[in-house]
């Protein structure tokens, strides 16, 4: 009895927290740290489907520079990230303002926000199916059906405008993320600030400009940085919608690394592309880190 008590006391101080963190840390080591090392090592091999580790120095990176697809892919990545980000932040802000400031009735605002959450909460496969149907090149597609009403021939939307398609599909998802964050930030502005502005004779525009925007400055920056980062590195919706095609017309860098690894089985080359992405992402994380100083998040324990 006494012994076990002693044991518990001893554990309580230092080993108990580590015990509680153990599964968490193990998962992170296996599926974050180990992969990072593997990617970093792999990037310098010419591993293919035979899974042989043959080091080839910086050949992969040379190859990347000379890759004929690379200029197109980088251009696509830039266009995709820039325009989707613009939709995410600006339209997210508009949605946030409309649903939580202009529409004062909470239930109505909530209803709209709920509807906008639908694409986000829908499984990606279903969401993409809706877009596929929208752009379907056959006369059954919604765009083509609408054209048929005015006697226009069906168009090959997805293959003629693949970049527009991926920007729209991703923008709609991202806008709801901005909407949620901005809404809750707007809602946390004290009501009497608006009342004071009204008393002082402020116009709607001035309230938005002088009260709301400054108050949600941090969330705005956060959403921008966060979305920038995730747009750079995620490709699930593109994979489902266009698969990067036709040819490489909608292929972005992150999807390219996936294709290289899992379609043409050039694991070494794919790893090298991934490594570039990881480095870029870490750079952005460092910026986010600097800008949003994490100190305040870390209160200390208050029982000794």
């Amino acid at each position: 009895m006494k012994k076990s008590k002693f044991l518990i006391n001893g554990m309580r101080k230092h080993s108990l927290p580590w015990l509680m963190l153990a599964p968490f840390l193990i998962l992170i080591v296996i599926f974050f740290f180990l992969p990072i090392i593997l990617i970093a090592v792999n990037a310098f091999t010419d591993m293919d489907s035979a899974l042989q580790w043959t080091f080839n120095g910086i050949d992969n990176f040379k190859k990347m520079l000379l890759d004929p697809n690379m200029p197109e892919i980088l251009k696509n990545t830039f266009i995709y990230v820039f325009f989707t980000l613009a939709i995410n932040v600006l339209f997210g802000l508009v949605l946030g303002l409309l649903t939580s400031y202009f529409i004062q009735k909470e239930s109505v605002g909530l209803l709209f926000r709920t509807i906008w959450m639908l694409p986000r909460i829908s499984p990606p496969v279903v969401y993409v199916l809706l877009w596929l149907w929208f752009f379907d090149p056959s006369p059954y597609g919604i765009l083509n059906s609408l054209r048929a009403l005015v006697d226009l021939p069906p168009g090959e939307w997805l293959s003629s405008n693949p970049k527009t398609a991926i920007v729209l599909a991703n923008g709609m998802i991202g806008a709801s993320f901005g909407m949620i964050i901005f809404s809750s930030a707007i809602k946390s502005i004290p009501e009497n600030l608006f009342q004071a502005a009204k008393v002082d004779g402020a116009s709607q525009w001035s309230i938005i400009q002088d009260i709301i925007i400054p108050a949600i400055r941090w969330p705005l920056m956060f959403v921008t940085m966060w979305q920038l980062l995730s747009l750079l590195t995620s490709y699930e919706y593109i994979l489902l919608l266009t698969g990067g095609g036709p040819m490489v017309e909608s292929e972005v860098l992150s999807l390219y690394s996936y294709h290289k690894a899992f379609e043409s089985f050039e694991y070494g080359y794919g790893s090298a592309v991934s490594l570039v992405l990881v480095v870029i992402a870490l750079g952005f994380s460092a910026i986010i880190w600097k800008v949003f100083g994490m100190k305040k998040m870390m209160g200390t324990s208050r029982v000794e």
Partner: protein, 298 residues
């Protein structure tokens, strides 16, 4: 609406704004929202109608009611040369995948969240920083390496392997959110428990856990839905039909070149979305809080 936006006080000499002018911003607001929101509603409505209709006039107007599209529920879908696995296999697999994922994530997240929120130990700051960093980490860029690791562990083409991967990818965020719930429990309460005769562990499960239960429930739902919707990992790491899940099943149907049957596709989609819709309708308020809270956590 609340009165303050339509000032009732109208002092003399002040140019009174006409009723219509004051309403213009609201008309624009509702107009913009309505126009942008309508396509979303229509798209999901189409999903519903086309699943119960033989064909769609102009692609959008249902013509004749039928249950034909829902036949996949009792007979396996057959295509030229290939038979799809039963939808129920896929459903069961999706359910197991999402369920186990949720249990793992909540248990691990609660343990880690509590330790990070409430305990003092060397290395705590470091782990918190690392957790924060991992939020923003481009986990999908690591898939190639994860493939090796799963291969090495003999977990390639198994649901368990993907469950572990998915848990790991989500756990930094989940643990952080749960840490936030613990942070919100006042220290006073914990102290009161200590003084009332509990040890730290007892305080944890008799006082703290019951208080954060609603938060845990929200996180559970969130991670269940994330698991239910997962596509990329399952598509990449699971190949065999025995381990097919609803997302890969649907993707297989969509990409099947022999099939252009939106009726069937929308019926399967709707079937796939049932849990999502149920959870969504009943809990969307708390879900919003979690997802917003998760974002604010940075």
């Amino acid at each position: 609406m609340e009165g303050i936006y339509e000032p009732k006080m109208e002092a003399p000499k002040i140019k009174t704004v006409s009723k219509w002018n004051a309403r213009i911003p609201y008309i624009i607001a509702y107009g913009t929202l309505g126009i942008t929101t309508l396509p979303i509603i229509l798209m999901y409505l189409w999903l519903l109608m086309s699943s119960f209709s033989t064909q769609m006039k102009h692609g959008v107007i249902p013509v004749e009611f039928t249950l034909e599209n829902w036949r996949f529920l009792w007979t396996n879908v057959e295509m030229v040369g290939s038979v799809y696995p039963s939808i129920w296999t896929a459903t069961w697999n999706s359910f197991v995948f999402a369920g186990v994922l949720t249990v793992l994530e909540v248990i691990i997240g609660v343990m880690a969240g509590y330790a990070l929120s409430r305990m003092e130990f060397p290395g705590r700051q470091g782990i918190m920083k690392m957790t924060m960093m991992l939020h923003a980490f481009p986990s999908v860029a690591l898939l190639i390496a994860v493939f090796f690791i799963l291969n090495f562990m003999g977990l390639f083409d198994s649901l368990l392997g993907v469950i572990l991967v998915k848990t790991a990818l989500q756990i930094p965020m989940t643990a952080w959110i749960i840490k936030g719930f613990f942070d919100d429990v006042p220290w006073d309460l914990e102290w009161a428990g200590l003084i009332d005769g509990c040890n730290r562990f007892k305080v944890w499960y008799t006082i703290v856990i019951p208080i954060i239960k609603p938060g845990i429930a929200a996180v559970s739902i969130f991670s269940f839905l994330a698991g239910w919707s997962e596509f990329l990992l399952l598509y990449t790491f699971v190949l065999s039909d025995d381990n097919i899940t609803l997302s890969t099943y649907l993707q297989k149907l969509i990409s099947d070149p022999n099939l252009v049957n939106y009726g069937l596709l929308s019926a399967v989609s709707l079937f796939y979305m049932i849990p999502v819709l149920i959870f969504f309708i009943f809990t969307q308020k708390s879900l919003m809080q979690v997802s917003a809270g998760g974002g604010k956590g940075v």
